[in-house]
């Protein structure tokens, strides 16, 4: 499989804080790569650094072979990276439809086909098409955030903790959706819920204190009780 995204020795400073201190991992085309690590490990900051929201002070981020480290955020997004933030980033006073529209660069056949696809994946969005994003339930907001990132011409989706605050039955739905979307796009997933992470992840990267601890196949991690106990507090 081709490498889609490569994060190589990345450091990030926010103000005077040295938050990321050496993050490296790769995401291969068509796979789900999971970033794991306890609270404050630097998972969200890693995604924000890939997107140029908190630009790297050292190291290189390559996407489809192109160095995107120094690009502005909108330029990075336009190379084909979509973002589903931890807080979902729904535009509360815009309708579901308008939220989707902001993400669509053009309304050509390809984009509309993508929209049809996500609306089939999340029928709730179709149902609440004219409803304000701010009035959706937590689960619906999550679905809207994923759908919105998907229609924006993304070949890579960065999804930050989609299970956060959702009921188990909704988590199940979100998980199925991600597994379906995986057929069309590469995914980097931040996920604390190990049940979910282990079921949909192909590979994992373990972060701690702003550094990469180790990477590998998800199957290996599932067996590795010691690492799971030490870094994830489970097993």
């Amino acid at each position: 499989m081709n490498t889609m995204l490569k994060v190589d020795g990345v450091h990030t400073h926010i103000g005077q804080y040295h938050i990321l201190q050496g993050i490296s991992f790769e995401a291969k085309e068509g796979e789900v790569s999971v970033l794991l690590g306890r609270n404050g490990a630097g998972k969200t900051t890693t995604l924000k650094t890939i997107l140029g929201l908190t630009p790297a002070s050292k190291g290189i981020v390559t996407f489809k072979g192109q160095d995107i480290t120094k690009k502005p955020t909108h330029g990075i997004a336009n190379t084909g990276i979509g973002y589903v933030p931890e807080d979902q980033g729904i535009f509360g006073a815009l309708t579901v439809e308008e939220n989707m529209k902001v993400a669509m660069r053009k309304e050509d056949e390809v984009t509309l086909a993508k929209q049809d696809y996500v609306l089939n994946l999340f029928p709730d969005l179709k149902k609440f098409w004219k409803k304000d994003g701010g009035h959706l339930s937590g689960g619906q907001k999550q679905m809207l955030a994923m759908a919105r990132a998907f229609v924006g011409n993304s070949q890579l989706l960065l999804i930050d903790e989609p299970s956060k605050g959702l009921a188990p039955i909704v988590i199940e739905k979100v998980m199925e959706a991600i597994m379906d979307m995986k057929k069309h796009t590469t995914i980097v997933l931040v996920e604390q819920n190990f049940m979910m992470a282990s079921r949909i992840g192909d590979t994992y990267t373990l972060l701690d204190d702003g550094k990469t601890v180790q990477s590998g196949l998800m199957q290996e991690l599932i067996q590795d009780e010691q690492v799971k106990r030490k870094y994830l507090g489970i097993g």
Partner: protein
Amino acid sequence: MELLLNLMINGLATGMLIFLLAAGLTLIFGLMDVLNFAHGGLFAWGAYSSVWFYALTDSFVVAILGAIVTGIILGFITEKLIITPVYGNHIQQILITLGFMLVLTELLKVVFGPNQIPAKTPPYLAGSWEIGDVIIIKYRVFIIVVGFLIFGIFQYILKKTKIGLIVRAGVMNKEMVQTLGINIKNVFLYVFIAGAALAALGGALMAPYSGVIYAEMGMEFAILGFIVVVIGGMGSFPGSLLAAILVGLAGSFMAYYVPSLSLAVNMMLMAVVLIFRPQGLFKAKG
């Protein structure tokens, strides 16, 4: 009855002028998070350039268009030179835009002289209508009509076009808009220029209304603009219209019935809103 009607028309007309100034302020603040104290300077430049163009061409239409173009050019220069370097830093924004306000004001005196300049009303808008025993001043009605027209146009752009959609989304969450592939800096520039053009238009309409123009008029009006932004809700376009009309009417009625309070009434309005609805009448963020 006649008195009430006239006070109302007067208040509405003043309100519309304040709205033209406040509309830009509120969008600039809401979207760009920028406190622009130079905005009144653009208003004054609009007034001066319209009077200048009017004297030159004897056409009020050209005068208005000239003022708008002046606003666009000054808006472009201001955003690029003054605002861009201080994004994200309110203290620096206050200092540099206040400084630039003074520069704009002094430049007016350098270019047009330090004295007040009389401003003419075009003949076809001068005078009044008499309906029964009610006298209605034409130019005030003209201002009100233009104000509503501008509101309608901008409301249409904000609600029905892609760029308007992006502006509304940007007011709510700038970071997210960028991660959706939109160059927010360009959007900032367009909004700033549009706001500057509206302020200049406001100044141009103000000139015949007050009969004279002077360099400090911008500063005086900008204060009303800020009050309106606070009352209407920072970032809310309809809020700024409603608040501007409220402030205009309150000023007009107070000036007649309780003249001693006519200046304080705006502050009082703002205080009441801040106490009971600190986010303003309309809420744009979130």
